[in-house]
């Protein structure tokens, strides 16, 4: 027994006791190969996954080292079978390589002939492999590079992609670091990405992912295609790029439902790319429109399935994925790994917060008790309508008003998922509403007002979930959501995490109806943040509504 900070579980989770003196050293040792799964206050959970082990292998760590650090930091004996499994899993990576052969172009090379034979006869690879050149090499058509990697990963023999990248059309881009500098972790993220060639950078909302993208562009110095979730987010990117880099307005094009500009740096929305006419994707030409040197995927966890398919054809270009969370509600993390690339950088939210880069946030769950009439309505509602009934209870309105009154001087966002409820809120609070049908022009106007401070309260629907940048929103009140979506909760919290000018405390309120399915969904949503170390405080609506208790001592 070594008394180390780490406990290795047989289901391949690693428990790290945070308060142990060796915890920091242990975290540094295991971070390269274990995925941080949860980081609540006392015990962080990491997981050994094949993907994580292969990532580590790709970064040059060997099985021996991994086993050594497990044994070194483990408090208890590590089961033999687990060590064997780790070594065997890591051994699978790189047995196959995708390389550029001078005479045959792209080939799949097997360092282990038997593995090559095994995968070559797999039905899943049918049609992807070309002629067998010799014992160790099989020709691969360049267009199958992505799909082959995807299929090999599924077979459990991930290929090492050594075929390199095209440089793309060169375009001078520099960071304009006047009065600001890249933060240390942003620089680390860019370096990690560039060394790996392609991959995903995971940073919390408000930690400056846009700057990581800009820095990556400045490193690539090539034409860049940026894919974002919606038009507003695109404009935000454009503003940021003009401010932080040597790029000018004219060099940046917007490719959206409204405008179709193709410039050296082009920002396109997922929506326009995946729009179809007559069953065919009409805007695919964009990918071939220029010789892109870099493709940036914003909010990778939302990447729609068709984009994966297009990405399979872009394997020769450098790809950078940016996200706050790799958790995908559809479980396609493996596709992100094989098509965009392995995770290149990750930092626990709390660490970045501790460094002062994102605003500290106080999360509060306010429980309202439904009136008897509302309870009766809820009780007899059909199952599929129950959440709507519970989440949109009118009882929540006075609570929201009371919360607003608590923060009279702050910019407040009220976020909800049901339009009817938002209209009620809008009327009740006398605040403007931004929803899906709001025109982009109107949206920008409202956001500008909000940003300038002339508008204190804004009610937004789901459209606000992504990438609108409202630097001075210090308080967010959530009244309803998309059922139990964990990443939505993280996104919404992200709205208030951007650092405030005066370092004020950010507040995140969730108003839920007690004893209904609303509470259950809220608990599910909070799970992710609780695992990130954000502890929710639960208060009763009556405490919010009632007068503050008199001081008696």
């Amino acid at each position: 027994m070594t008394g180390g900070p780490l406990i290795v579980q047989s289901d391949k989770t690693l428990l790290l006791e945070v308060d142990h003196p060796d915890a920091q050293a242990c975290r540094m040792a295991i971070a390269p190969f274990a995925e941080l799964e949860r980081s609540p206050e006392h015990v962080h959970t990491y997981r050994l996954t094949p993907l994580g082990l292969w990532n580590a292998r790709a970064a040059g760590h060997d099985a021996e080292g991994v086993v050594d650090s497990l044994i070194k930091f483990s408090r208890y004996p590590v089961p033999h079978a687990l060590l064997v499994d780790v070594a065997e899993t890591m051994d699978r990576y790189g047995r196959l390589q995708l390389v550029n052969d001078p005479s045959h172009g792209l080939v799949l090379r097997g360092l282990d002939k038997i593995v090559l034979v095994e995968v070559a006869k797999s039905k899943k690879l049918a049609g992807m492999l070309g002629a067998r050149l010799d014992d160790e090499t099989i020709a691969v058509h360049a267009s199958e590079r992505g799909r082959l990697k995807q299929a090999l990963l599924k077979l459990g023999w991930p290929a090492e992609d050594l075929a390199g990248y095209v440089d793309g059309e060169a375009h001078e881009i520099d960071l304009a670091q006047n009065g600001w500098t890249l933060r240390s972790y942003q620089q680390e993220a860019v370096d990690g990405f560039w060394a790996g060639g392609s991959g995903v950078v995971v940073l919390p909302c408000g930690a400056g992912k846009t700057l990581v993208g800009a820095a990556a562009m400045a490193t690539a110095k090539a034409t860049t295609l940026i894919l974002v979730t919606n038009t507003v987010a695109g404009r935000q990117w454009k503003r940021e790029l003009v401010a932080r880099t040597s790029l000018t307005e004219d060099e940046i094009g917007e490719y959206s439902g409204e405008r179709k500009e193709i410039r050296p740096v082009t920002i396109a929305t997922y929506q326009v790319l995946t729009s179809r006419r007559g069953g065919a994707f009409t805007h695919l030409d964009l990918f071939g429109a220029r010789d892109w040197g870099l493709v940036i995927y914003d909010e990778v966890h939302l990447l729609p399935a068709p984009i994966f398919r297009f990405t399979a054809d872009l394997q020769a270009r450098r790809r950078l994925g940016l996200t706050a969370t790799l958790v995908r509600e559809d479980g396609r993390e493996g596709d992100v790994f094989s098509l965009i690339g392995p995770k290149r950088y990750d930092a626990p939210w709390k660490d970045i917060e501790a460094q002062g880069w994102i605003a500290p946030a106080l999360c509060t769950e306010v429980r309202v008790t439904l009136t008897d009439a509302e309870r009766m309505t809820y009780a007899v509602t059909e199952a599929e309508e129950r959440y709507r009934v519970a989440a949109t209870a009118r009882t929540k309105l006075p609570v929201v008003r009371a919360l607003l009154d608590r923060h009279p001087d702050e910019q407040v966002l009220v976020i909800g998922g049901y339009i009817d409820q938002l209209h009620q809120l809008g009327e009740y609070l006398d605040a403007p509403i931004v929803q899906g049908s709001t025109t982009n022009k109107e949206r920008e106007r409202l956001f500008d007002e909000f940003r300038s401070g002339s508008l204190k309260t804004l009610v937004i629907s789901k459209v606000g979930n992504f990438s609108i940048d409202l630097p001075e929103a210090a308080v967010a009140i959530q009244v309803s959501g998309t059922f139990g979506s964990r990443q939505e909760e993280a996104q919404r919290l992200g709205r208030v995490l951007r650092p405030k000018a005066d370092g004020r405390q950010a507040h995140f309120y969730t108003v839920v109806s007690r004893d209904t399915i609303d509470t259950e969904y809220a608990a599910h949503r909070q799970r992710f943040l609780a695992e990130q170390g954000y502890a929710y405080t639960i208060v009763d609506a009556d405490d919010v509504l009632g007068p503050p208790l008199p001081q008696v001592d």
């Binding site: 027994m1 406990i7 290795v8 579980q9 047989s10 289901d11 989770t13 428990l15 006791e17 949860r38 609540p40 206050e41 006392h42 015990v43 959970t45 044994i71 483990s74 408090r75 208890y76 004996p77 590590v78 089961p79 033999h80 079978a81 687990l82 060590l83 007690r514 004893d515 509470t519 259950e520 799970r527 609780a530 695992e531 954000y534 502890a535 929710y536 405080t537 639960i538």
Partner: protein, 811 residues
């Protein structure tokens, strides 16, 4: 000769005789009456074979050398002759030690210059000592002539074309006999060798005739010539092969092993819990079905081979047993053959006792059972000879030699330095050297033993752990205790050395938890049994291993409330056990759940009473005459009572109320009282078959009687015709012969008759026990049956040989 052997034994000192018995313990089971009997037994095939089984490769090679070096006339050899034969391939000292080993066991006996080999050795070993063929003059005169002229022989061998040379080299390495392919065409190289008389075609009496062609044998002289470089006995290894696998730090071996041991114990627990939650049916053919194995393996997050192994070990340790589907343990009397009761596998009561032990003790129970169980878990999932998969706990995986194989494999590991981690192949090679005759055919069992040792944590990182070494040596050594009558069963109570050693390696149990805001509860080590029991109730397990992670959910809190915890108890429990402040989310969860708990009440009642008139209900409730009905008010308009509705109605009517019964749908049920009647009876007049007189026989019973009479008739007639000896053998002894001798004689007669195609009187006992004689012409005699044709009836009869009492050729 036997006398000479006995005399030698008799002349031994008591110590020497004792030493022999120690080396060959089977000689005294049962204790022989005198030294002659001991000598007979020492020369018997069984005892010699058993003795040879325990000898190592080198000693056996020396025994082969002794057989080769026997002088043709006297069949004696000597130490000098053996040393000379071995030449410079082995150190004479090693040879002498090996010879002494053989002499001590009385496989070789007599003075040094006139050693005699026990006759049975030739019978139980290969006819080709050291892989050399028989002498040429025994095989073929022409080959003998060739071999007599050494120069000519050498020229002939050197002149062999490459193909023929390859055949020669293969036969020279042994065995010296090769089969020719069927079809009559002999490959050119072999034909050449046969023409040159270098190879001799044989169709051997000692071997079963081969369907795929004839055999060729390489004469001994040619073999020796070809072995000029390697020595006449081939490569000799006086020392066991040293495995060159990596040597691990003994500490990390113990650590990895202890981790695995802990896992094994936990896995067994998970498997049995899964089995307890959903018992698995016992297959008709015995054993646990594939689907159940898959399910259990999935539940424990294990691969199927390991799950199969642990289930077998748990069964052997008595943690798991069969019960009938109703859950009653299988008694001694309930037989599986009845087939009426569906049986299931369930954890036994022993499992609960086992769970109360410390991890190390639990592990020891598993490991010891694994060592001793006559099962080969590696067979699970493989196919048997009828191509059906072998299931865990099924009789197909029963292997009597398995415990021996496991002990051998572990003992082989124990002979190496601590921390040595040989590869499986190296261990097998070592075992093959230590006892080649025993290891042959046991490779699978040995591999299985090594795999099992790794799964159970007896080995760690491929090397034997310190506690594994103790478990392995804790086993009573079988050699000194062939009957298992030793103290194995009555081991002293208290922890064994292995348990103490393992205990020191395992983490100490902890009594506290860490509660976090995401409602996860982490036990940073193996929980104390009491803590584990508490957590099992109030939280859902999420991850297990060195530590365990639980999560508190509304479901788990409700479960705790259901078993009697109050919200206060739960708060207290977490406050007491948690080293960290209890998060507010958990407090709320408990309070919310407790508030909702019991909001609905359910119960059972015999009958209810309802009325829209609340006053009427109140009146009924207040009526003292209705006290025995134990009415209880559920609502202002509803009463309920534990008594049945008929009694309720009766009592109410007696009290002057006018109730009406209603059915499940609420509509009134009107009933008229039923008149009581006894069970219907049949009138006497219509009874049949009651006439006086003897019973009429009919059907099969009649046929049986007839057959019996006819059989007696036939027997008498046949007996009249059959010769006296055949008749006499039926039922009584032929004078001068024991029944065994008579049987042997009958067999001899029949064998001769098959060859002569002669007719024979055969006396036999039929399946009804009747003795019969029959005149038949034997056709074949094999596999325990005589097949013979009866020319009179032109039918082919098959007689079981053990039923034949006599046979006499027809005069």
């Amino acid at each position: 000769m036997a006398t000479a052997f006995a005399d030698q034994l008799r002349s031994l000192t008591d110590d020497a005789l004792g030493a022999l018995i120690q080396l060959r313990p089977d000689l005294v089971v049962p204790v022989p009456s005198d030294v002659s009997a001991l000598a007979v037994r020492a020369q018997s095939r069984g005892s010699v074979a058993r003795c040879l089984d325990a000898l190592d490769e080198f000693t056996l090679a020396v025994l082969d050398a002794a057989r080769l070096s026997r002088a043709a006339e006297t069949a004696l050899t000597s130490v000098a002759a053996i040393v000379e034969l071995a030449g410079d391939t082995a150190d004479p000292v090693d040879l002498r030690v090996a010879i002494d080993r053989l002499r001590a066991r009385f496989l070789l006996h007599g003075p040094e210059d006139a050693l005699q080999i026990v006759g049975a050795v030739d019978e139980v070993t290969s006819p080709y000592p050291a892989g050399l063929g028989r002498p040429a003059d025994y095989l073929d005169p022409q080959a003998a002539a060739l071999c007599a002229d050494r120069a000519k022989l050498r020229r002939a061998v050197l002149a062999a074309p490459p193909g023929a040379r390859a055949v020669l080299d293969r036969l020279a390495a042994g065995p010296p006999v090769g089969a020719l392919s069927s079809g009559g065409t002999v490959a050119e190289p072999v034909r050449w060798l046969i023409d040159q008389h270098i190879l001799v075609p044989v169709s051997e009496a000692g071997r079963a005739p081969r369907a795929d062609g004839e055999l060729v044998e390489l004469p001994r002289e040619v073999g020796l010539l070809l072995r000029r470089d390697s020595g006449p006995l081939g490569r000799l290894r006086p020392l066991p092969p040293a495995p060159d696998g990596p040597v691990r730090e003994p500490k990390s071996v113990d650590s990895a092993g202890a981790g695995q041991a802990m896992e094994a114990v936990r896995y067994v627990e998970t498997l049995l819990e899964a089995l307890s939650a959903e018992p698995a049916a016992v297959l008709k053919t015995g054993g646990l079905g594939v689907r159940d194995l898959k399910r259990l393996a999935r539940a424990a997050n294990l691969d199927e081979p390991s799950a199969g192994l642990l289930i077998e070990a748990a069964y052997a340790a008595g943690l798991l047993g069969e019960a009938d589907a109703a859950g009653n343990g299988r008694g001694v009397t309930a037989s599986r053959a009845s087939g009426l009761v569906d049986e299931i596998f369930l954890p036994t009561g022993g499992y609960d006792l086992w769970r109360a032990l410390s991890i190390a003790q639990r592990w020891e129970a598993l490991a010891n059972s694994w060592l001793a169980m006559t099962r080969q878990p590696g067979l699970i999932g493989q196919r048997d000879d009828r191509d059906r998969p072998i299931n865990p706990l099924a009789p197909d995986a029963e292997r009597a030699g398995a415990p021996q194989a496991r002990r051998e494999a572990l003992a082989a590991l124990a002979t190496l330095a601590p921390g040595a981690a040989p590869r499986a192949d190296e261990v097998l090679e070592l075992l093959a050297w230590q006892a080649p005759r025993r290891a042959r055919g046991r490779e699978a069992a040995h591999r299985d033993a090594l795999a099992g040792a790794a799964t159970l944590g007896v080995t760690g990182l491929g090397a034997l752990t310190s506690y594994g070494r103790l478990v392995q040596s804790d086993e009573p050594p079988t050699d000194s205790d062939p009957l298992g009558a030793g103290p194995g069963g009555a081991r002293a109570p208290g922890a064994s050395n292995a348990v103490r050693t393992l205990d020191a390696l395992l983490p100490a149990p902890v009594d506290h938890v860490l509660v976090q805001a995401d409602l996860s509860v982490v036990v940073p080590g193996p929980p104390e049994p009491e803590l584990a029991a508490e957590l099992d109730v109030v939280a859902e397990p999420e991850s297990a291993g060195g530590a365990s992670v639980y999560r508190v959910t509304s479901g788990s809190v409700r479960r705790a409330l259901d078993v009697g915890y109050t919200a206060g108890d739960l708060h207290g429990l977490f406050r007491r056990r948690s080293r960290t402040p209890v998060p507010q989310a958990l407090t709320y969860l408990i309070d919310d759940s407790a508030r909702k708990h019991g909001g609905l009440r359910a119960g059972s009642a015999g009958s209810y009473l309802r009325s829209d008139d609340e006053a009427l209900i109140a009146e009924v409730l207040a009526d003292r005459r209705l006290g025995p009905l134990a009415l209880r008010r559920l609502a202002p308009t509803v009463l309920c009572s534990p008594v049945q509705i008929a009694r309720l109605l009766g009592a109410l009517r007696d009290a002057g109320f006018a109730p009406v019964a209603e059915d499940a749908a609420g509509s009134a049920v009107l009933a008229r009282p039923r008149v009581r009647r006894a069970v219907s009876r049949t009138p006497v007049s219509s009874r049949l078959g009651d006439q006086a007189g003897p019973p009429l026989l009919a059907g099969p019973r009649l046929a049986g009687v007839v057959e019996q009479i006819r059989r007696g008739d036939v027997a008498t007639r046949a007996a009249r015709r059959a010769p006296v000896t055949v008749r006499a053998a039926n039922g009584q002894q032929v004078p001068g012969l024991t029944s065994v001798q008579a049987h042997t004689q009958a067999m001899a007669v029949l064998q001769q008759a098959v060859r002569d195609k002669a007719r024979v009187w055969v006396g036999y006992v039929d399946s009804h026990g009747a003795t019969l004689s029959r005149l038949v012409r034997p056709v074949s005699l094999s596999a325990g049956y005589l097949r013979a044709e009866d020319e009179r009836t032109e039918t082919l009869h098959t007689f079981a040989l053990h039923r034949i009492t006599a046979a006499v050729v027809e005069e």
